[in-house]
């Protein structure tokens, strides 16, 4: 199957670089799938899950927003931060999620609400992505 080059970089590190078949990313106006020879595109990304298909195998990456540029047969994702599913410690992601939820619901006026919402969204994505790699996890319908 035809492939294209996908580079995922963040300000802190080079996250991954690979030849892939399909990429599904959380665009600002909704999820979008990129296949080889896609038209040139530049979009803002929302926090969410990136799904990559390589050799028919799915893999997942959590991003907390950023940009995606598609040009010819090369796609670059400039992520605010990005983590591959296998890099995320599920127990810690769960702890972060619980903490974010607690902050959201607390009546403490010191809590920056907008920030708490963002943190919660980010924690939820990471948790979701971390769970993806468990073999027993139910796989959602693809395509």
């Amino acid at each position: 199957m035809a492939t294209f080059q996908l580079d995922i970089v963040s300000a802190e590190r080079h996250v991954s670089s690979d030849q892939v078949e399909v990429l599904v990313a959380p665009g600002i106006d909704g999820e979008m799938a990129i296949l080889p020879s896609h038209a040139p595109l530049l979009t803002i990304l929302k926090p969410g899950e990136i799904r990559v298909v390589k050799d028919g195998q799915d893999s997942f990456i959590a991003v907390s927003g950023g940009f995606m540029e598609v040009m010819g047969n090369r796609t670059v994702i400039l992520a605010d931060s990005a983590e591959r599913a296998e890099e995320i410690d599920e127990a810690r992601a769960q702890a972060a999620f619980d903490k974010a939820e607690e902050r959201m619901t607390s009546r403490d006026t010191d809590v920056d609400f907008e920030r708490a919402v963002q943190q919660l969204a980010r924690a939820r994505t990471r948790l979701q992505v971390a769970r993806r790699r468990r073999p027993m996890a139910p796989t959602p319908p693809t395509g």
Partner: protein, 292 residues
């Protein structure tokens, strides 16, 4: 002539100093390598975001001048904000002095008001002592994450957006090689996107990119990211410079201490031989007197 005991004490004390500076040299070397790796890891992102920024700014300017986002708009400069990145601690050779001198000169040469945000204690103290306006002071760790520096960049963007300042400049040391650190003055705001020629713009238009949601919105969202990246990278460069300067300073200190130990050891040997010679003379003289 100092006694052999005095010499022995001094040798001991100097070699202890050499041990301390030697250890500091090794620590600085490992921290330097780490900071350099962090700079390298982040480079692809920084380079790409700069390119995209240049393309978008050129496109936006071409289509309609009104489309240019606020962070890129140039306005008359009444007040300048300087972000001075320095180490927290000294023992880094001439680095701190060079940074302070550069900052002092910049403030002097700038027309209009100047405020300073100090990142690192050395710069903060310098500004307070010089009686300049210190707007805020930050301290970062040796291994900053992007999140740690975002507080600083957000503050710069807020000050600029609220028109409390009209220009923001970053002063920091760039890591050139292990022995060379260069003090760099870089304009952050208004953002200066890389220049694009007519041909480049035509080519971009021909490629017919799809922008979601739109050129201006992508640019407006990209510009603050670019500032965050620049601040983060400036700080990483500064950390790499600090540790390389400290490593060299400590290497020199260790070498000097070892040299002193050698000299003192020579003196000690001489002093010991002299006292032995003197004692021998005494004994020989005594025997001669008895026999006489």
């Amino acid at each position: 002539m100092p006694s052999t005991k005095d010499l022995r004490d001094r040798i001991k004390s100097v070699s202890n100093t050499a041990k301390v500076t030697g250890a500091m040299q090794l620590i600085a070397a490992s921290k330097m390598t780490r900071a350099q790796n962090m700079v390298r890891e982040g480079r692809p992102y920084a380079e790409r975001i700069l390119e995209v920024l240049g393309d978008l700014a050129a496109l936006a300017a071409k289509e309609d001048d009104e489309l240019v986002v606020d962070l890129l708009r140039i306005r008359p400069v009444h007040k300048t904000l300087v972000v001075l990145v320095t180490p927290d601690r000294g023992l880094a050779g001439a680095l701190v002095g060079n940074l302070q001198r550069a900052a002092g000169r910049f403030i002097q040469d700038t027309e209009g008001e100047v405020s300073v945000i100090g990142v690192g204690r050395k710069g903060e103290r310098f500004i307070t002592r010089a009686g300049e306006d210190l707007l805020a002071a930050f301290s970062v760790t040796d291994r900053p994450r992007l999140d740690d520096t975002v507080t600083i960049s957000r503050m710069l963007i807020d000050e600029y957006a609220a028109e409390r300042v009209d220009r923001v400049v970053l002063i920091y040391a760039t890591f050139i090689t292990t022995v060379v650190q260069q003090v760099t003055t870089q304009q952050l705001l208004p953002v200066e996107p890389p220049e694009r020629g007519e041909g480049d713009v035509a080519k971009l238009q021909q490629l017919d990119y799809i922008y979601e949601p739109s050129v201006t919105e992508v640019l407006a969202s990209l510009a603050p990211r670019y500032i965050e990246t620049q601040v983060y990278h400036g700080i990483l460069e500064a950390i790499a410079s600090e540790h390389s300067a400290r490593m060299i300073a400590m290497k020199n200190a260790t070498d000097n201490a070892n040299e002193i130990v050698e000299d003192l050891t020579l003196d000690l040997n001489k002093a010991r031989q002299e006292s032995i010679t003197a004692e021998l003379l005494d004994i020989v003289g005594g025997v001669a007197a008895l026999e006489g």
